[in-house]
Structure formats: structure tokens, C-alpha cells
């Protein structure tokens, strides 16, 4: 278990931190993830994917569950909200990529390349930042319905691209 920790804890913590937006919370999540991985190692089925993938999935979903379950408590403060909106307006206006995704290898990045930047940002804000539809809508400055539709279509496009 310690080997796993040495190898992956920093990356797992990074993933949890992005979604939970708090160092302490991220450590709680990684802690819980390790306990879950340990107690459920016996139920892991390799037919369902790699062990490494499983560990990241467990961590991400714990973080997402926490954020969704506490969505009514965690509110974007007014100041940061306006900052987010300003940033979002910039994103849409210039179609700037918010994520440094280009230098990455992996099939997903090639497929993301084929999406429009605004839609690509929606997908990445959702997956990496753990943003909800409405948070993404604020972030990219597009109507909620538009964001939902973009994401839905982008996922279908990714599915077609990746197989």
C-alpha cells in the first residue's frame, strides 16, 4: 500500500484538489480513497479496466460526490464569481483554451483537438475541475442549456472519435 501511495499520492491529491478546491479536503478525499481501495481490493475486476484507472476513478468520484452532496454549502463567493464571469467572457470572446492539453499524448487529446475550444473547455472544466453544468455555464459565459447541449454532443463526438 505504501508503494502505491509513494507512486500515486501526489497525482491523486492533485486530482482531488482540483475538484475539492481545498488542500485539507483533498487530503481527506485521498485518505478515504486509500481506505476504499484497500477494503475493496478483493472486489476489483481487471475485466473492468486497469488498477491504476480504478484508483483514479475512486478518488475522482469521492471528490465529485462530496462536491455534489455539499453543493448547497459551497457557494462561489460574489467576488470570485465576477472574476469567473470576466474570465469566462474572455474565454468565449477569444476562444482561448483554458487547459494546456496540446502537449499531451493519449488518444483523448487528439479527439479533444477536434472539438471547438469552448466545448473542449466545457468538457475539461467538468472532468478536471469537477464543475457542475451551472458552474461551467458561469465559467464560460454561455447559457446553461447551451452548455448542457455542448457537453452532450461533445461526449458523443468523443465516443465516435475514440471508439
Amino acid at each position: 500500500m505504501h508503494d502505491l501511495y509513494t507512486q500515486e499520492s501526489a497525482r491523486l491529491l492533485g486530482v482531488a484538489k482540483r475538484i475539492a478546491r481545498s488542500d485539507a479536503l483533498a487530503e481527506d478525499i485521498v485518505h478515504d480513497a486509500f481506505i476504499k481501495i484497500w477494503t475493496r481490493a478483493g472486489s476489483f475486476d481487471p475485466a473492468r479496466g486497469t488498477a491504476r484507472g480504478w484508483i483514479f476513478s475512486v478518488t475522482r468520484h469521492l471528490a465529485l460526490n462530496f462536491m455534489r452532496d455539499n453543493a448547497h454549502i459551497i457557494q462561489v463567493s460574489e467576488q470570485s464569481e465576477s472574476a469567473v464571469l470576466a474570465e469566462a467572457a474572455l474565454d468565449v470572446a477569444t476562444e482561448v483554451d483554458t487547459f494546456e492539453y496540446r502537449a499531451r499524448s493519449g488518444r483523448i487529446y487528439g479527439c479533444l483537438e477536434q472539438l471547438e475550444p469552448a466545448r473542449r473547455n466545457c468538457i475539461l472544466h467538468a472532468y478536471v475541475d469537477g464543475y457542475s453544468h451551472s458552474e461551467i455555464s458561469q465559467k464560460v459565459g454561455a447559457p446553461l442549456g447551451t452548455v448542457k447541449a455542448w457537453i452532450k454532443r461533445s461526449l458523443v463526438a468523443l465516443r465516435e472519435c475514440m471508439g
Binding site: M1, D3, L4, Y5, S9, A10, R11, L13, G14, V15, K17, R18, I19, A26, E27, V30, H31, F34, I35, W38, T39, A41, G42, S43, F44, D45, P46, A47, R48, G49, A51, G53, W54, F56, S57, R60, L64, N65, D69, F99, E100, R104, G106, R107, I108, Y109, L124, A126, Y127, V128, G130, Y131, S132, K148, I151, K152, L155, L158, R159, M162
Partner: protein
């Protein structure tokens, strides 16, 4: 995005799975999918496929070094969980993951080594802690007055403890002997000073037996010249197992 019929078309199922993995489902629907994953194999397969597709995106989150305390916390919680020994029965192929994951195999191997190590330590350590204990009371043959006690609660040595002062002529010495059933003759355990406790290593002798004879005889100052008791018996007793 509300209400998914129980019989989703393949596309709807895949859309649901993709949004679950992406993280954009509202809390109630997330929970719904989570519950369905337990029983719905198609949904599970769709979710797993999406987990695989999007996994590489985790690289976009900057790694963050955990605080030094985190591992300690995890370790403590794991220890607690181990004591509770949660029984997780794998639904399918109970050992399949074992063969494919050096990670878990190494983990289990380390656990096994630790278990064996601790187990063998425990075994070798418990032996002296709880051995068969013997007690011998040596009495004077004439009046049955107890003169010495022998304690043997350690396979390495026995202790001879005087119960009172013993008078020994100045030109004589007390010699300590033992003989178990089946032995050719008594074996000397050395000379004994009257009134003094004595620890005698017995690791070269066979293990103590019930009823094993112990005696103190009066011999020359340097001990019996023949290697066998020659003088009169001063004290004698037999080993009794202490329960």
C-alpha cells in the same frame, strides 16, 4: 436530463454513463447511477469504458505533494480496518485480479511475510513464556523436614532455594544430584553451599520429567570421587508438575 427509463436505449445508456464519469450529473442522478451500477451490468460496462476513455485527462491536474501526516493517517485507518477485517466477497473471478496486478500481489506478499515473521516470533517467544513448570520440595529422609525447594519454570535452568540453614560438617560438602526414570544413574548438578540459592543451567540435560528424582548428598569437599553419590542423602524429593 430528468428521469431515465429503466430500459434505456444503448445511446441513452451511454450518454448517462458518460455524464456520470464526466461528473456533470446532478447529485440525485449521480446517486441513482451509483446504485444501478451494482446490478446493471450494461451500465457498468458503459461507465467503465468512459472511465478508460477519460482517464488520461487526470494528467491535467497538477500533482500536489501530500503533507507528511497523510500517510500516517491512512496507515492508522488501515490498521483499524484490518482489525475489523471486513469481508468483501468478490462477485466474479475471486482470484483474477491477483494474477494480473503486481501491485496487489506485492502488497499481499509483504503482508504474508510480515505475518510469517510475526507469527514465528510469537511462536519462539511464547515457548519460554508458558513452559511446563516443575516444583520439587527436598526433605530430610529421617524426619521429612523440608530443607530446599527447586523451581523449574524455565527450560534453561533450575533454581535451588534453601528454606533454612543447613548444618554441614566442615570437612564435607553438599552435592546436588538428579535422576529421571530410565536413566543409568544420578547425574551431578554440582556442589551446593548451605543456605544459598543457586541457579543451575540444565540445558545439557534432557527435559525435566514428572517424578524426576533430586537429592543432596554429603560428599568430600571437592565432590564425589566416583562421579556417583557416595555419602548419605541429606535431602531428597521428586519433581511435581505445576498446573
Amino acid at each position: 436530463m430528468t428521469g431515465y427509463p429503466s430500459k434505456d436505449s444503448a445511446d441513452e445508456l451511454d450518454a448517462l454513463a458518460s455524464e456520470y464519469v464526466l461528473g456533470t450529473l446532478p447529485a440525485a442522478q449521480r446517486l441513482d447511477v451509483k446504485n444501478r451500477l451494482v446490478t446493471d451490468a450494461d451500465l457498468r460496462a458503459a461507465v467503465d469504458a468512459w472511465e478508460g476513455r477519460l482517464l488520461a485527462l487526470t494528467e491535467l491536474a497538477e500533482p500536489m505533494t501530500p503533507s507528511p501526516r497523510l500517510w500516517g493517517r491512512i496507515e492508522r485507518s488501515l490498521t483499524r480496518h484490518d482489525r475489523r477485517a471486513p469481508v468483501q466477497t468478490p462477485a466474479v473471478k475471486p482470484h483474477a485480479w491477483w494474477d494480473l496486478l503486481p501491485l496487489w500481489r506485492g502488497l499481499a506478499g509483504a503482508g504474508l511475510v510480515a505475518t510469517l515473521l510475526l507469527g514465528s516470533m510469537l511462536l519462539t517467544r511464547t515457548a519460554p513464556v508458558n513452559p511446563t513448570t516443575y516444583l520439587v520440595v527436598l526433605v530430610a529422609p529421617q524426619n521429612q523436614a523440608p530443607g530446599w525447594v527447586i523451581q523449574a519454570n524455565n527450560p534453561e535452568e533450575i533454581q535451588l532455594i534453601p528454606l533454612g540453614a543447613t548444618q554441614v560438617p566442615t570437612d564435607k560438602a553438599l552435592q546436588f544430584w538428579t535422576k529421571a526414570d530410565g536413566w543409568q544413574g544420578p547425574v551431578s548438578l554440582g556442589l551446593v553451599k548451605p543456605g544459598q540459592s543457586l541457579s543451575i543451567p540444565v540445558n545439557k540435560l534432557p527435559p525435566l520429567q514428572p517424578n524426576q528424582l533430586f537429592e543432596l548428598t554429603l560428599e568430600n569437599p571437592n565432590g564425589s570421587p566416583t562421579g556417583k553419590p557416595t555419602g548419605p542423602i541429606q535431602f531428597i524429593g521428586r519433581a511435581v508438575k505445576v498446573i
